[in-house]
C-alpha cells in the first residue's frame, strides 16, 4: 500500500520546531525530521520519549563489574593461588582498578553497539536521504498524509508556508 508523504524543508531550526508544534496541534502526524545538527527541543515538540540506551549501559556495566570482580576472585583465590610478596590470595582492594575498568569498557562499548543496532547503522546500509542537503544545510520534516481527508493537505501546506518553509513537496512511498 502506497503512503502519501509531504516533505517540507526549512533554513532555520526555530522555523522547523514552530511548524512541527503547529502541525501537531492541528492533528497532523509527523513521520520524522531530518537535520544536519542536533535541534534542541525537538523531542518536546514531537512528544517523543527519551532514548532507552541508558538501560543497556546499566546492564552491561553491571555485567562488567560483576564479571571482572568474580573472575579475579576465582582466578587468584581458587583456580591457581600464587603467593606474590606475601599478599593474601583475596586481595580484594587490589582487584578494584580492573573491576572499574571492565565496568567502563563493557558499559561504553555495549552502549555504542546498541546504538548502531537500534539506529540500523552499518557500513552496508545505503543512505536514504529525505532531501539532498540534510547533512549540509537543509532541515526537513516529513508528514504522513496516508488516508487523510482531501481537505487536509492544502491546510497543511498553508500552515507550513506560514512557518517559512522553503520548499514543500509531495512524495509517495
Amino acid at each position: 500500500m502506497g503512503r502519501e508523504l509531504l516533505v517540507a524543508t526549512f533554513d532555520h531550526d526555530e522555523d522547523l520546531l514552530a511548524s512541527i508544534r503547529a502541525a501537531r496541534r492541528e492533528g497532523f502526524a509527523v513521520e520524522d525530521a531530518f537535520t544536519p545538527s542536533v535541534v534542541h527541543g525537538i523531542e518536546d515538540a514531537l512528544g517523543a520519549p527519551p532514548s532507552r540506551l541508558p538501560w543497556i549501559t546499566l546492564a552491561a556495566g553491571c555485567a562488567g563489574l560483576l564479571g571482572a570482580a568474580l573472575f579475579q576472585f576465582w582466578a587468584a583465590d581458587f583456580d591457581w593461588p600464587v603467593n606474590v610478596g606475601g599478599k593474601p590470595p583475596n586481595s580484594a582492594l587490589a582487584f578494584l582498578p580492573i573491576t572499574f575498568e571492565a565496568t567502563v569498557l563493557l558499559g561504553g562499548v555495549a552502549t555504542a553497539v546498541a546504538f548502531f543496532v537500534r539506529s540500523r547503522l552499518s557500513p552496508l546500509a545505503p543512505p536514504r536521504l529525505a532531501v539532498p542537503g540534510v547533512t549540509n544545510d537543509v532541515l526537513a520534516v516529513v508528514f504522513d498524509l496516508t488516508g487523510a481527508e482531501p481537505g487536509r493537505e492544502p491546510a497543511l501546506r498553508e500552515l507550513l508556508a506560514g512557518s517559512r518553509a522553503r520548499e514543500i513537496r509531495k512524495e509517495s512511498a
Binding site: V38, Q72, D79, A94, E101, L105, R118
Partner: protein
C-alpha cells in the same frame, strides 16, 4: 537578553556569523584541495622520523634490549619516560570532549575533534614503549588473562603493571569509539558532497548510512552523554593507575600518596600543551582562524595556568614532605634531584612547568599567539623532563650504593623516541588531510544558538 550585554553571557565562539553551508565549506574544502607544499614537507619529515624509529626498533628486537641501555640499573629510564609522556599527552583529548561536555563548555566544540584524534595517536605511541620494553614483543599477549596451556597460570591481578594494561586498553578503546561516533554525522556530510567516486565510497562505508533522522539524533545525544559520563572517571583513573606503577614501589622519590592527583594534573597540563602547539599550527595552515579563535586559545591558556600551578604545587609539596616526613632516604633522594648530577634536568622541569606558565596571568601574554606557541613548546619539554627526573634520579641512586650508576640514553633509545614523534605526526597529518578537523555538526549547533541570541529568542 535586553538588559544585559549578551556578549558577557554568551561569549562569541565564532568570528562573524557563517551560514550552515559556509561552515561545511570552510571546514571541508581543505580536504578537497591538493595538499600544500608545507604539508608535504611536514609529512616527509614525519615519515622519515617514523622510518628511523622503525629501523631502530627492528635492530633492538633482533639484537636484544641491551641496545636500549637496559644493562644498567636504571632499567626504566627512557622507555617508561616516553611511555608516561605520551600517555599524558593523550589525556587532553578526552578531558576536552568528555569533562568539558559535561560542564557544558561550548568552546570545546572547535577543538574537541583534533584533541581526540591526538589522544588516539598519543596512546598508540605510548603503547609502543612497554611493548618494545618486553624484548620479545610477539609475546605481548601474555599480559592479558586468557586461558592458556600453562595451567592456566593467570596474570597477577595485584600488580599495578597489569592495572595499567587494562586501563590503557580500555582508555584506547573507549576514546576510539568516542572519536568515531562523534565523526559519523560529519562523515555523512563529506559523503554527500564528495565528487570523486572513491571518496564517496570511502566516506559512505565509514558514515554507516547516516541520514540525520531525528530518532537517530536523539539516541546519538544520549550515547554521547553516556560515553562522556563514562570517560570522565576513566580519564582520571588512567593516569592515577600509571602513577601507581611508581607509588606502590618502595623507592625513595616514588613512594608517595601524592602521586595519583599529581600525575593527573600533569597529564592534563602536558596534554593541553600539545593541543595548543598543534592547534596554533593547524588553524594557521588550514585557515581556520574563524573557528579556532583567540578566545579558544585563551581558554586553553587558562587551563595551562591552572594545571601548571597544580603541578608546581605538587613539586613543592614533595619537597616539603621530603623534609618534614623525616625519612632520610626520601630527603636524600630530593636533595640529589635538586643538587645532584641531574640537577640541570630538575631545574629545567621546574622552570618550564612551574615558572613559565605563570606568565599566563597576564592577559596581554595570554592572548598573544607567538607567546602561547613558545609557552606550549616549553610545557612539552618540561613535562618530558618531569618524567625523566622522576624515573632516572630515583633509579640511579638506589638504596645500595653498589647499584649507583649514571644514565645516558643510547642512540637506539633516541632513535625510537624520534620514531614515536614520527608516528604521532604522520597520523596527525593524515588525519587533517582526510577527516574534518572540526566537528561541523557541533559548530552548526553553536551557530544556530548564536543566531537565536542575536534575534532575541
Amino acid at each position: 537578553m535586553t538588559t544585559l550585554d549578551s556578549s558577557i553571557l554568551r561569549p562569541r565562539l565564532l568570528e562573524g556569523s557563517p551560514t550552515l553551508r559556509q561552515i561545511t565549506e570552510d571546514i571541508a574544502r581543505p580536504l578537497d584541495a591538493r595538499p600544500t607544499r608545507s604539508w608535504f614537507v611536514c609529512f616527509a619529515l614525519a615519515v622519515t622520523a617514523l622510518g628511523l624509529g622503525a629501523a631502530a626498533a627492528t635492530y633492538e628486537v633482533m639484537t636484544g634490549i641491551g641496545t636500549w641501555g637496559l644493562n644498567k640499573t636504571v632499567g626504566w629510564a627512557f622507555d617508561i619516560t616516553n611511555f608516561v609522556f605520551w600517555i599524558g599527552i593523550g589525556h587532553a583529548g578526552t578531558l576536552i570532549s568528555a569533562i568539558l561536555l559535561l560542564l557544558r563548555q561550548k568552546w570545546r566544540t572547535a577543538i574537541s575533534r583534533s584533541a581526540e584524534g591526538m589522544t588516539i595517536f598519543a596512546v598508540m605511541c605510548a603503547g609502543l614503549f612497554p611493548l618494545l620494553h618486553m624484548g620479545r614483543p610477539w609475546f605481548g599477549f601474555w599480559i592479558f588473562p586468557y586461558p592458556n596451556s600453562r595451567g592456566p597460570l593467570w596474570v597477577n591481578f595485584r600488580s599495578p603493571l597489569l592495572w595499567d594494561v587494562v586501563a590503557i586498553s580500555t582508555y584506547f578503546t573507549v576514546s576510539l569509539v568516542f572519536w568515531y561516533v562523534g565523526m559519523i554525522p560529519d562523515l555523512a556530510t563529506l559523503r554527500d558532497r564528495a565528487v570523486k567516486p572513491w571518496k564517496r565510497e570511502l566516506y559512505g562505508l565509514l558514515s554507516l548510512g547516516w541520514d540525520g533522522s531525528r530518532r537517530t539524533w536523539t539516541r546519538y545525544e544520549t550515547l554521547s552523554l553516556i560515553l562522556a559520563g563514562l570517560a570522565t572517571p576513566l580519564v582520571v583513573s588512567v593516569h592515577s593507575i600509571v602513577s601507581m606503577d611508581f607509588a606502590t614501589s618502595v623507592l625513595p622519590g616514588w613512594h608517595a600518596t601524592l602521586f595519583p592527583p599529581y600525575f593527573v594534573a600533569g597529564a592534563v597540563f602536558s596534554g593541553f600543551g600539545m593541543v595548543m602547539t598543534l592547534l596554533i599550527l593547524t588553524r594557521k595552515v588550514m585557515a581556520l582562524e574563524r573557528y579556532i579563535t583567540l578566545r579558544h586559545l585563551e581558554a586553553m591558556a587558562k587551563i595551562l595556568l591552572v594545571t601548571g600551578s597544580m603541578v608546581g604545587f605538587c613539586y613543592l609539596t614533595e619537597l616539603f614532605m621530603a623534609w618534614y616526613g623525616g625519612n632520610l632516604y626520601e630527603r636524600a633522594a630530593f636533595w640529589n634531584r635538586a643538587t645532584g648530577p641531574y640537577a640541570w634536568a630538575y631545574w629545567l622541569m621546574m622552570t618550564c612547568n612551574l615558572f613559565v606558565p605563570q606568565l599566563l596571568w597576564s592577559k596581554r601574554l595570554r592572548t598573544s599567539v607567538p607567546v602561547l606557541f613558545v609557552v606550549s613548546l616549553l610545557v612539552n619539554v618540561g613535562m618530558w623532563f618531569e618524567r625523566f627526573v622522576i624515573i632516572v634520579t630515583s633509579l640511579h641512586r638506589d638504596y645500595l650504593p653498589s647499584s649507583w650508576w649514571m644514565y645516558k640514553p643510547t642512540i637506539v633509545e633516541i632513535a625510537i623516541l624520534t620514531g614515536s614523534f614520527g608516528l604521532f605526526f604522520t597520523c596527525f597529518l593524515l588525519f587533517v588531510r582526510f577527516l574534518p578537523v572540526i566537528a561541523m555538526w557541533e559548530i552548526k549547533g553553536i551557530a544556530a544558538a548564536a543566531l537565536h541570541a542575536r534575534e532575541g529568542h
